[in-house]
């Protein structure tokens, strides 16, 4: 009976194709909505896991959450460094993770933080060691994969949180060195570059206390990175340098060959010290470069160490009652609860998506109606054929099933085409709009609700075929054949 149903569908290709197309469009729309809804909320939940409260500069709480938890928006501003101690000293707080944002490398955000950030995201090192000293950095798995970073390589961050081809404000004077690469987590940390808060301050020429809590004591003498130089004195000057490539393009790795006469050289070795036993041409180049940046160094004393946000985890429930109120009323900062803001965001998105969802279901019903019209006409035109089947030995149920199968097969084709189209579109959209990837939209990742959707579309096909099927079920073969 299935073969016969398929033969009948092939017999009227245009009608079948149109019905399939109608259903495919509606299924594609619904799958896209499902994928977006479920993957985004799943991603939001996963990235916000363990973060009870985010403290940042006053502004939009949603923006604060998006920038500090999901890393997809600009921060609301900066907050005083002292806020970290304020919260860490609160008995209701179990953990406070500082965030200092402001730079990117090839579009990937450089996040100044401490080791608790790795704990918060359940991240573990796949290679190397975590950042310990200033200007050490740990690459998220996706960053490492995209940039081809390896341990020991150096890179220069650019100002701003997104890759900008017009932005030439690279922090050439303070290159980072890759000390570790994280294993993939599937979360936001995969596309971040982690370093110490002090590194971010260092890059921006901000004077800071080197005995910062949570970091090893680390001595600086002006711009002379004595400790770093000591730490990295094994490095060869002709090692591979990791540098930003063309905007939005691949990162180029190249062997830095320093020409002492090339004073405009963009890429510099990271660590340079007067104590270095053999002062090379490369270090001379760095010295020359740093000499040309007096303005930045002069500003150091004027700039206060600040943070972008704090990720807070409560020790007990009393924190949830007291701390947000305290932050919002008694400080110049704001607090935002990720769960609340995420729910609000999904609600906002949901309201606009509901309209599309209703339209898509109406389209699916229209597809069902088109199947009904096609099959009712078929039942009229083919009643001779179907009467013949009855005479040849087909039971009423078999003839009934043939028509139902035509409806279900049409719906199944529509569902399959729609599903493939939706996931294909996600693949294309992800390539075209990286933000979708940042939101966690992954193609070819079926969600359980899709099975329900496909079942509903099949039911529409079966229901549309029900009346025509009942019509042929009641056929009187003798009368029909005599009439024909």
């Amino acid at each position: 009976m299935l073969r016969l149903a398929l033969a009948y569908l092939r017999d009227r290709p245009l009608t079948t194709a149109l019905n399939v197309l109608l259903l495919a469009i509606s299924v594609a729309m619904l799958v896209l909505l499902l994928q977006f809804g479920s993957q985004a909320s799943e991603r939001f939940e996963r990235d916000a896991e363990g973060i009870d409260l985010v403290v940042g500069a006053k502004g939009s709480p949603l923006q604060l959450i998006l920038s500090s938890v999901f890393h997809i928006d600009q921060p609301t501003g900066n907050i005083p460094n002292s806020s970290l101690e304020l919260l860490r000293n609160d008995p209701a707080v179990a953990r406070v993770t500082p965030l200092a944002l402001g730079d990117n490398f090839d579009g990937y955000r450089i996040v100044g933080t401490d080791q608790t950030f790795l704990v918060l995201h359940g991240a573990r090192l796949a290679e190397g060691e975590s950042f310990e000293h200033p200007m050490e950095a740990v690459m998220g798995a996706k960053v490492a994969e995209a940039t081809g970073a390896t341990l020991g390589q150096q890179f220069i961050g650019s100002h701003g949180l997104e890759d900008d081809e017009d932005n030439d404000s690279g922090h050439d004077h303070s290159p980072f060195r890759v000390t570790g690469i994280l294993a993939p987590t599937g979360g936001v940390i995969d596309r971040l570059i982690l370093t110490s808060v002090e590194s971010v301050w260092e890059v921006h020429g901000i004077e800071h206390d080197h005995d910062h809590d949570g970091e090893e004591g680390h001595e600086h003498e002006g711009d002379e990175h004595a400790d770093e130089a000591e730490h990295h004195e094994h490095e060869e000057h002709d090692h591979a340098f990791l540098v930003p490539g063309p905007a939005a393009g691949p990162v180029h790795l190249r062997q830095a060959v320093f020409d002492p006469s090339d004073t405009e050289a963009l890429f510099r070795p990271a660590h340079h010290t007067e104590e270095h036993s053999e002062e090379t041409a490369a270090t001379q180049a760095v010295s020359g470069y740093e000499d040309r940046a007096p303005a930045l160094q002069d500003r150091r004393a004027e700039l206060e160490p600040e943070l972008t946000a704090l990720l807070v985890t409560y020790r007990n429930a009393s924190g949830a009652i007291r701390i947000p109120a305290m932050i919002n009323r008694q400080t110049e900062m704001q607090s935002a609860v990720p769960a609340v803001e995420t729910a609000r965001l999904l609600e906002l998105l949901g309201a606009s998506l509901d309209g599309i969802r209703i339209f898509a279901w109406l389209l699916a019903l229209t597809g069902g109606l088109a199947i009904f019209v096609a099959l009712i006409n078929m039942a009229r035109n083919r009643e001779g054929d179907l009467a013949l089947l009855r005479v040849m030995g087909a039971s009423r149920v078999q003839v009934f099933a043939t028509v139902i199968l035509e409806g279900v097969v049409t719906a199944a084709l529509g569902a399959a085409v729609g599903w493939l189209a939706a996931h294909g579109l996600i693949t294309i959209a992800r390539r075209s709009f990286p933000t979708l990837g940042d939101l966690g939209l992954t193609p070819w990742q079926p969600v359980a609700a899709e099975a329900g959707l496909i079942a509903a579309v099949l039911a529409i096909g079966a229901l549309a075929a029900l009346v025509p099927a009942l019509k042929v079920y009641r056929i009187d073969p003798a009368r029909t054949l005599a009439r024909a």
Binding site: D385, M392, Q398
Partner: protein, 218 residues
Amino acid sequence: MLLTVREVGKAYDGRSVLSDISFSLNAGENALLLGPSGSGKSTLLNIVCGLQKPDAGSVEVDGELVAAADRSANSDLVRKRAMGIIFQTLRLVSALSVRANLALAQRLQAGSVDHEMIDDVIERLGIAHRASARPFELSQGEAQRAAIARALVVRPKLLIADEPTSALDRTNTETVAKMLFEAAQEAGATLLVATHDDRLRPFFERTFSLENGRLQPC
């Protein structure tokens, strides 16, 4: 007896179409049911096939009740098991090729397809080269042969044909008649053909004439 028709009667709106029809055919026998249009031939064939219930009498095929006025009969099953039917309008399924039409008939009858037998039958009937063609691509003669082939591939004990030559010229009429006769003989089937075409009479062992709803042996 393979086919037994006992005192069958049928009336439409009080007008008698068939009255007290009785005859029987042995296995392998062939018979022609001759009568003008509207004489009740098709009604009698429908009753023999179990497609219509008689108002009186009964029909048995191979010892099983096909139709009866006073009893219910499992006509679908008997028809499926023992009969091959060739309709006046041929009735090939338009969406299927000749081969697929034959396969469908076998599948409906036996639940499986005997491709070897299909090949053999279409070869014998001279339409092997048209096996992949759809019904609308066939000539009248080819369609006629395809319809006969479909009736034969189910290995019928009783082969029934309703006006099989109505649209054919003399040459083709003889060809089809011979083909039917030989096919039934080769299959060992009993052949019952209803027609108004007197030209078929010489091909059959027995001929019944249906006039005014009554059967008269010729």
